[in-house]
């Protein structure tokens, strides 16, 4: 230590000398911050660019327009429009006949190849149309059908004409037929009606996210209904009611520990408790929601407690001062003031739950599920699982569909976060 006493002049000189250095330090700090933020923004932009540039084409696909003769005898043999009757009908054959009348395939083999041009969902499409509008029977109407995924990839240019025939998935003959259809102006590139309203499918041209989207909604609602009341109640109890002793301390420490447990562990617990002991079925959103609720509980409890702690003691004292009971203080004053913080915590917890696949793996929700779940006890899957599964399928067209599904998931997440921001702004009170 230098204990020499310095004069004020010396002191101010010293300060003057060091000012430039300190300013430079300040500026450097600012610069580092800016670099960090611009790097993050840069990565975000790259991510968005790569997803959107690949994904937007996933919302579109190629269709072929065919003239369909809606012959009731053949489409609906029993005449009662029931699922069974339509299933027995010959809708696929009618579509093939209409296609053949345009491209004129010669011989059995050529016909067999030509049949694959139109997606195998053609009969379902016709069944849906006549169910919605039985007056179609007896008319000949132009109907758009999705093209098979190989043809779609060809029209997009992923399968190239120059590639030798043996190495590409579609033969020269098919290309000839496609050219013919194109000349007649029957092929169009439009917004896909499968991506949003279709369900999981092995045929990429018919695959959509409806099933997974609804599964996600159901799972999240179960999760919210369990996690929010439990989490808030726990937080209130620990902050306002419980005495501070060894036991509550122990509980607190463990809640914090739970927040750091890897999510797959909750899945194993769900399998052991809900499925093995309670005997609940696999793959249902109810179990999924319960597992995710366990996972989000710590997040909600911790943020709710922070929100309750942020309510100034003066509010409580004032309430007690005019004779409010403990219950009245909590429910009339503390909770309304802490609500924005609690809601923000909950929504962030939900957003985290929305993106989870690992805990769902154990309870059978990582699966190929075609039927759209109608209730929380029907088998269902969720959006991230759908993305994960599509990413693995061999067919080319799933690449675009995967990106499209990611865009939907991102949209879902952003709107949830926007809701959190809105609620906070709306309910926030300053004191």
């Amino acid at each position: 230590m230098n204990n020499k006493i310095i004069t004020p002049l010396e002191a101010s000189n010293k300060v003057k000398k060091s000012i430039a250095k300190r300013r430079a330090k300040d500026n450097r700090l600012k610069l580092y911050g800016r670099v960090a933020i611009s790097l993050a923004v840069c990565f975000l932009l790259i991510l968005f660019y790569s997803i959107f540039s690949k994904g937007y084409s996933g919302f579109f696909q190629y269709y072929v327009t065919l003239d369909i003769n809606f012959d009731r005898e053949r489409i609906d043999p029993k005449g009662d429009l029931s699922d069974n009757s339509l299933f027995d009908g010959e809708a696929s054959k009618i579509v093939n006949e209409s296609l053949f009348s345009i491209i004129q395939p010669q011989g059995r083999k050529a016909k067999k190849q030509a049949k694959k041009i139109v997606s195998s969902g053609k009969d379902v499409r016709i069944a849906k149309m006549v169910k919605n509008d039985p007056s179609l029977f007896g008319t000949t109407t132009k109907v758009k059908f999705a093209l098979d995924d190989d043809i779609d990839s060809f029209l997009r240019g992923y399968i190239k004409r120059e590639t030798p025939e043996s190495e590409r998935r579609i033969s020269n003959k098919i290309i000839e037929y496609i050219d013919k259809l194109n000349e007649e102006g029957r092929i169009s590139y439009e917004f896909s009606d499968y991506i949003l309203s279709g369900s999981a499918s092995g045929n990429p041209e018919m695959a959509g996210i409806k099933g997974a989207f609804i599964g996600s909604m159901l799972t999240l609602s179960v999760c919210l209904l369990i996690a929010f009341p439990l989490g808030v109640a726990t937080a209130i109890y620990l902050e306002e009611v419980a005495k501070k002793n060894k036991i509550t301390e122990f509980i607190e420490v463990n809640i914090n520990n739970l927040a750091a447990v890897p999510s797959v562990v909750f899945g194993i617990m769900g399998l052991a408790i809900f499925i093995s002991i309670f005997g609940m079925p696999r793959s249902i959103p109810l179990v999924g929601g319960m597992v995710l609720a366990l996972m989000t509980l710590p997040t909600i409890i911790i943020s709710s407690r922070a929100a309750i702690r942020a309510v100034p003691p003066s509010v409580r004292d004032a309430a007690y001062g005019i004779g409010a009971s403990k219950l009245q203080v909590i429910f009339h004053h503390v909770i309304p003031l802490a609500m924005p913080g609690m809601l923000t915590g909950t929504i962030i917890g939900m957003a985290q739950a929305l993106g989870e696949t690992a805990p769902l793996l154990m309870i059978g929700m990582v699966a190929f599920i075609v039927d759209v779940p109608n209730s929380i006890v029907d088998p269902g899957t969720v959006l991230p699982v759908q993305i994960f599964m599509w990413a693995d399928f061999a067919e080319r067209m799933f690449i675009q569909k995967t990106s499209a599904a990611i865009i939907v998931l991102l949209g879902f997440l952003i709107s949830m976060n926007a809701l959190a921001v809105y609620l906070r702004k709306k309910l926030e009170r300053r004191w």
């Binding site: 093995s276 190929f368 039927d371």
Partner: protein, 345 residues
Amino acid sequence: MKKTIFMAGIISGLVVTSVAQARDTLSLAGSSTVLPFARIIAEQLGKNPNFKTPVVESGGSSVGKKGVCDGVGTKFIDIGNASSRMKSKELAYCEKNGVKLTEIKVGYDGIVVANSKKGIPLNISKADLGKALTAEIPVNGKWVKNPYKKWSDINPDLPDIAIRVYGPPTTSGTRASYAEMVNQKGYCAKDKEAKAASVARGDKKGKKCRAMRTDGVFIEAGEQDNLIVQKLNEDTSAYGIFGFSYLDQNSDTLQGAVISKTAPTFENIAGNNYSVSRALYYYVKHQHIGVVPGMKEYMAEWTKHWGDEGALSDAGMIPMPKAERAKYKAAMTNLPVLTAADLKK
């Protein structure tokens, strides 16, 4: 307070019991190689308005074989998919849990070693391929860690580049079949030196050779075959091990290695000329037939599509010869119980 807790207990009890009733959706799990084919069949069955579409989970062959054997009751899966045959150990686990199974073979799948078309095509014998990836190889009669760094170290005719192969993890039936067919049967049981050394360490059949290298030359890329395909497109000096259907879908960018003078083509695998191919199975739990609706219909649906020109061969599965198809079609109605003796055949 006590009352509310009591009521809450009753309500949650009711919810749990009402949910834990019989399942009306078929539940399948297992091999990711069988999954694309099983999902085609599941979807076809779901078109029938009388049945719900079965739920098909992935997870790897071991998950399918273990899952179906876990026990009887609707909380367990009904059918396990596998791309490698059940082993007697796995069957013993089944019997311990009182599960009776019928084995249905559905077709074949070739395992290919492929790389990008921009890379050097591989033309390799099975023994050399085994030498490249087996964890330990004999040098002067002693087992040492596999020393080969480049393909050309094994055989001067092979490309002069570092050995780097992406492949599936241990839970995968593709991996198990590959290790058995290439490392064990193609190399340790064929190569004179390796055979002698195997016998010397009391491993007559060369089963110890099934271990793959763990020194970074063989890279586990997860159950996702598509990931391997993408990596090969980016890394043109690497090779990958996966099912034939992925090569079939990507035939414009990838080339399959010629193994023991046979190229991995549909015709060669179907004609049994290509030696690295395995059968695909599913295992049906007897106790669930008639309990979960659609089991029999699901099985029958396979017979409609597993032919030479059916939807399954279009998706890359190699069909069985006619006689075998007839045999397993009969098994679907007779439901012979799988025994340890059957597995030895």
